[in-house]
Symmetry: C2
Subunit: 346 residues, 2 copies
DNA sequence: ACACCCGATTTGAACGTTCATACTGTGGTG
DNA sequence: CACCACAGTATGAACGTTCAAATCGGGTGT
């Protein structure tokens, strides 16, 4: 059976020093003589001592605990990005000695209430925000109350995101679509089309710009205008857009999402039976892997690492000027797959 | 600006009572006179007081915090079930006043180490286990140390799951496939085939049994044997199996997973161009919705509710005999969709 | 009138840690 | 030789809560 939990005091008298010395071994090792330190460390090891988070938190008002909202209806084919972020954040936080606490809220206002709750009651040290937009009330509230936070996603729809004082990481959509476009062109497709969204202007425009950048030079502006289409972010939308662009002479397609790409993929399959569809999606969702669709994979692990690093630096009172960059744009990597042919399998 | 955080003491002297009275208003309201209670409650309201979780935890050795492991490679098309469970658990826990803390671990042994950590350091009150199997070392360890826990998923591969002393919730696979089979038969398909897994015997067998139950009576055992196939849990596997069963006369298919169903769906699409494929998947993953595939939706929210209820009952020292059932099998519900036709959209 | 009980409230102590400060001994300095 | 600096260690207090036990004012019963 397990003996009674060891504490600083019980450990101290076992070793024959004072509790503060043991505490120092853990928190300020340089203050204690090497010989003493070793004896204490060994005793800690043997007893399996773990400092009580509650006691420490009560004294220091820090919990080593970060909060993140779990969006309720994260469903949909691309909801998975946030889920993957969550996984990566959990690991990154754990590696840095932090814990991750989840909460749910239906809207921004409710989230603020939850944050206030957790801040007062549980002394959370910082928060990870997703889906921030210009004039976001959560950002305002957190800044006003001096609460550390970091965002996944730039604040869209406002002034230059690089000018805001708070940290964020984001995926460089333009770099992604540009890389995908170059890849398709290098593989012999001169006329690469782009399928974007009708809604969500900012992110969609960025992804289109990447394609545009990689295409310009070889085609006229008029020709390029013919090679792009906008649709709702659904499979049907993608199929419709693919049909349209195919008629206009597109030979390959870069899509703003995997949903669109899935539709385009399926359409090309049935419309041009002989050939494998040259389609690239965005976000590299599980479906893409399942059906063998090439897609742009966001560097979620890097992003999570960055979020934790920047929060951890801020929380340990690191120097203002130094530390990880405040704003970070990460390029997605193109995952190339060969489409699975399901119709005629042997 | 925010005033200094109120505490029991500051509140108490503001109202003119002792700290213990305020504490009692919160924890044992019946002990304090109605008039006093009202005065205190109002003061709490006005001041926005929140009891300090750390102080409470230090004193009571309870954290109101539950732990759950986030599996590292939860990817794949059906990883989403656990993610959806996580969402539902977050909400259910929050509703019951608990918080959810995540941790990651690469295997069961590492998970035990993490649990021990969190137990000592953070006083977690209980854990949610996923993917338990017969002779699971985590279960053994938790039981031995008297730590409350609840499982999502029955312990497979051992004796009767209903005989184990610890609580679990699970999805009734047989009920699901039986319902799907009946649905297809009611819609005029006499020969409904089943596509199962080669691996993962227990869960796969159960899903097949449901189909068998719903089919038996109308067909001979020999005919039924012809109408089932086993494949790897991939899209190609599903397509291959669909082709095979189609040749053997199947008119509709019930599949053990959405991956298989997706493959079968795609195959039927291209093999029998005129008709909409009559295929039902399992788990109702986002892909199913995207492409219009009917699927069996596991009652995740109910399951989460149950897990929290059973843990919460145990933790608040509820009577052994009463409270929520220890073992709960929940029937998935069939989500019927009309397939999207992407080839010939107008 | 006295002892007694009971509901309502208060007080002292404890949970395990860290901060601020106080103490010790040793070696160097005026 | 008295003094000081300093590294190393020890002590008191505090963080905010809850448990256990003490106190306070009325009634009641005899």
């Amino acid at each position: 059976m397990v003996r009674k939990k060891p504490t600083l005091v019980s450990l101290a008298e076992a070793v024959g020093v004072s509790r503060q010395t043991v505490s120092n071994v853990l928190n300020n090792p340089e203050r204690v003589k090497a010989a003493t330190r070793d004896r204490v460390l060994q005793a800690i090891e043997e007893s399996g001592y773990r400092p009580s988070a509650a006691a420490r938190q009560l004294r220091t008002r820090r919990s080593m605990d970060l909060g993140m909202r779990l969006r309720p209806a994260a469903g949909g084919i691309s909801g998975s990005v946030l889920d993957r972020l969550l996984h990566a954040l959990t690991e990154a936080a754990q590696d840095s000695g932090y814990r991750l606490t989840l909460y749910s809220a239906d809207d921004d206002g409710e989230e603020i209430a939850r944050i206030e709750d957790l801040l007062h009651a549980a002394d959370l040290d910082g928060f990870v925000l997703t889906g921030v937009h210009a004039g976001d009330p959560r950002v305002e509230w957190l800044q006003e109350h001096g609460v550390p936070f970091a965002c996944f996603g730039r604040p869209r729809g406002g002034p230059d995101p690089f000018a805001v004082p708070y940290p964020w990481v984001d995926v460089d959509g333009a770099a992604g679509t540009a890389a995908a476009t170059r890849f398709l062109r290098d593989n012999g497709h001169a006329a690469v089309g782009f399928v974007g969204w009708t809604a969500d202007a900012a992110a969609g425009k960025e992804r289109r710009d990447g394609w545009l950048r990689a295409m310009s030079g070889s085609l006229s502006a008029g020709e390029l205008a013919e090679l792009q289409a906008a649709a709702e972010d659904t499979v049907e939308g993608g199929a419709d857009a693919a049909r349209l662009l195919l008629e206009r002479g597109a030979e390959a397609l870069v899509c703003a999402s995997d949903s669109l790409a899935l539709g385009a993929f399926a359409y090309l399959r049935s419309a041009v039976p002989g050939r494998n569809p040259a389609v690239v999606g965005f976000d590299d969702t599980p479906v893409a892997e399942a059906i063998g669709l090439s897609s742009l994979s966001p560097p979620i692990i890097r992003a999570a690492r960055q979020i934790i690093d920047v929060l951890s630096h801020r929380l340990s009172g690191g120097p203002e000027g130094q530390g990880p960059r405040r704003h970070l744009l990460l390029e997605p990597s193109l995952v190339v797959r060969t489409p699975r042919d399901l119709g005629r399998t042997t």
